[in-house]
Subunit: 216 residues, 2 copies
Amino acid sequence: MPKETFFNLPEDKRERIIDIALDEFSHFDFQSASISRIVAAAGIAKGSFYQYFADKEDLYRYLFELAGQKKGEFLAQNPPEPEMDIFSYLYWLAEKGVEFEMSEPKLSQMGYRALNSGGMPPEFLSSARTMTAEFFKQLIANGKEQGHIDPDIDADLAAFFFNTIFSELGQYMFRRLAADDHGRTGNNEAFFRSAEARAIVGQTINILKSGMGKRS
Amino acid sequence: MPKETFFNLPEDKRERIIDIALDEFSHFDFQSASISRIVAAAGIAKGSFYQYFADKEDLYRYLFELAGQKKGEFLAQNPPEPEMDIFSYLYWLAEKGVEFEMSEPKLSQMGYRALNSGGMPPEFLSSARTMTAEFFKQLIANGKEQGHIDPDIDADLAAFFFNTIFSELGQYMFRRLAADDHGRTGNNEAFFRSAEARAIVGQTINILKSGMGKRS
DNA sequence: CGGTCATGTGACCGATCAGTCATATGACCA
DNA sequence: TGGTCATATGACTGATCGGTCACATGACCG
């Protein structure tokens, strides 16, 4: 946790530091990210940084938690309709996930790096990773109970599928946008509300549904 | 490319250097991997290293190419039956891929890191990445022609699915083995030839087949 | 023997890093 | 005014890095 000094900072200064730190950690993994670059870019003294944070890891953990918290808030602000079946719920989750990645690209990119480029304290990864894995497993268990998921599907493997596809989907859509966008608006938000984007997300869910849904 | 000096080395010395370098690059990404650690572990002088390789990147590219080459050789030694339909071919590819990862864990881990932990010359990633993407797209086009893949499936999205699942499957099975293996043999090779492993690979392909196969 | 040439060596260079600390600033209060 | 206290500062430390270079070694040849 950052020190009290950090939270006593004027909001704009605090936010500038966060923003610049996210820039650094979305471009480099934990080891390669540089506190020296961050303080230089933020225009603060090295010593000041260490008035705010205990060390590099303190900042990193804080940003990581911030990402999780912001995503939670984002999802809470756009709640799913109650009583959705599992694949409608997954559609909602994927769509909101992609929207979040577009509205908070630095935060998302840094979270993605944190989870996928290894090299930090084991619990860091594994606690977050197992949490999402458990979440998907629970979802699958429910789906089986409600008869929406083929009971013969290996729950662990299905969780792997969801986890993998969901964590990569945003990156994929971003790459695809960049490739398609031959000098177009460059307005990601707009694109990701477009019919085309919805269609890709929809087809993703349909593949999963056909692949794992209950034979009827 | 390494210098001639490197290839003039006695085979055991050359292989020890490669092995130790793979150890380093399978644990750290390009930026964080350390030539100093490699030469210390290999028991050679820093200056000697630079008699063999132009620089860090030279070694990295060489190992990366070696990984691709070894995998190619591995697949060539266990060729698929001719005239397989696309999903049988994918099963073969997944099974051999997992077997390769188990027989050459350092090489595979280093290749995985190279592709997934970003931060090196763009062509490095993107040329390898687009190559495999094109490979899968071609496979999908063939599958559509032969009536094995639903023609309504977005080929690009399907390639993303294959690419993503295939690149993560080995890692997943490794994690799952480690979790299941509560003090068992620790013999990965044996496990990955087991009926259980084959069943997981089989179900993976079945999910993809049900998800994208032609409706009949 | 002396000369040549590929190979081996490790001290050294300049850069960069995370983190520290003595000191400075400046707001607030007595 | 003078004292106190949270905050700001940047020179500094010790470590590590990738890469260089002047020199050592030793095999082969005349």
